[in-house]
Amino acid sequence: MAAVRESALPLDLERIRADFPALSRRVNGHPLAYLDNAASAQQPAAVIDAVADYSRAHHANVHRGVHTLSQEATALYEGAREKVRRFVNAASLAEIVFVRGTTEAINLVAQSWGRPRLAAGDEIIVSHLEHHSNIVPWQLLAEQTGARIRVVPIDRRGVVDFQAYLGLLGPHTRLVALAQVSNALGTVLPIAEFVAAARARGAATVVDGAQAVPHLPVDVQAIGCDFYAFSAHKMYGPTGIGVLYAREALLAAMPPWQGGGDMILTVSFEGSTWNHLPHRFEAGTPNIGGAVGLGAAIDYLGGIGQARIAAHEQALLDYATAKLSGIPGLTLVGTAPHKSSLVSFTVEGVHPHDLGTVLDSRGVAVRTGHHCAMPVMEYFGVPATTRASFGLYNTRAEIDALRDALVDAIRMLR
């Protein structure tokens, strides 16, 4: 019940917005309405300052030096790992691998877990909703191993068909890879149910959590997945840093996927021995500043409370859905009953790219295009959509600005 009480407290938006320097910008003569959070969210000063402070005072290489700065850098880097572990409730630090982002995490699983294990006849299941980063690595793996990709269908609301999924799960299923939240439509999957069904058939599970972590509390043990991937920059952290959570027993049995410094214990020309987990999967000098920034973003989210953020964002979603539905000729794409805070839509007779330009001239930042989910666009028979995606700092006034700019754009272009 603590979560309910916590979520009942509204956010102090004025104070929160003051935490994000970019939000005070004007764009093309208008106050910026940043509604492209699903692509990348803005950073609070706490994140920017943590990275700058690291660079100013504590920068050195990690895990190497006996000198003070190296020890400080190592403490900061490993401290960030512990923050991540708590953030997703992993059982052990050995299960938290720092990577460049979600894409790299999924490629790591495909190449290190999948490539030695899969063979012709094996099946990989993905849904029709996936981002290209949760399709293409599996296609590469399928080409390398002869495995086959099966696709769980969606319906016209953008809901992934659970019954069809159960039908696809079979003796040949080796791996299930699913987005917890769709980047193109916002659909939230009951991910624990999908994972449990896969595990019951003995399949490994990969969850693309890039669009989930900014909006929902995530507990990898409750979800029960083998792998969970996400990026810092969609949760108010820096770019170039992300996380692969991997169940320790699986990670321990996986070969390194990149070789280099930091991932070895010993190297000789006769052969090398691998470092302990998770360092075996972090070859080379890592993105130390990025990890520090991710840790600061986790602290920032924790300071506000994820349940409160979720409540605020759901209210924004309801408001935007009602506001936009009233615009003649506008069709919402993605109307699942359980959605994260984004609206994807088309406007009859007006191409998204033109909408994007007109909206930008009014300071409203949205994403237009296929959202790296071309199969989703194909399913709905549209080349592209316009997507407004909300974060913890967005306001109703910004949604009003979006609506007004849309009405003007339609008047100008249709």
């Binding site: 191409h351 790219h353 033109d354 007109v358 237009t368 272009l413």
Partner: protein
């Protein structure tokens, strides 16, 4: 940044009512253009008689800029020779990338001059021309703006 300079009346008109839209039966040349960034796709059929572009039609989905550009291009090059079309392309390309618009040579195509103030949209305006080039070159490989 002035939107009215981008979406001039001529552009809006050619987007609403594109000229030479459709497919051309018995076209001697064909090309396909893609702008992967925004999902624009363009099919271009050309009836090329020797050096003369006797007729051409385009079909596809795209934004107002790419549709209007294809429409304006189709009017501008119909009945012209390949060499004349190539000269027009170079004038359009120059205009889109910052050269002063040569109104005498460009005619109605000068309506696209505002696009250069919107760098993200230059590819939209040039897609049709790259596709025409591919069709005239006759190599049949799809072109892309990337």
């Amino acid at each position: 940044m002035d939107l009215a300079d981008l979406y001039r009346d001529v552009i809006v008109d050619h987007n609403r009512s594109p000229r030479n839209r459709g497919r051309l039966d018995g076209a001697s040349r064909h090309a396909e253009g893609n702008n992967p960034l925004c999902g624009d796709r363009l099919q271009l059929d050309v009836d090329l008689a020797g050096d003369l572009i006797r007729d051409l039609r385009f079909e596809g989905c795209g934004c107002a800029i790419s549709t209007a550009s294809a429409s304006l291009m189709s009017e501008a090059v119909k009945g012209r020779t390949r060499a004349e079309a190539a000269q027009l392309f170079s004038a359009v390309h120059g205009m889109l990338t910052g050269a002063p618009a040569d109104a005498a040579r460009l005619g109605k195509l000068a309506a696209l001059a505002g696009v250069r103030e919107f760098p993200a949209r230059v590819k939209c305006a040039s897609l049709a021309w790259h596709t025409l080039n591919a069709a005239l070159a006759g190599d049949g490989a799809p072109v892309t703006t990337e």
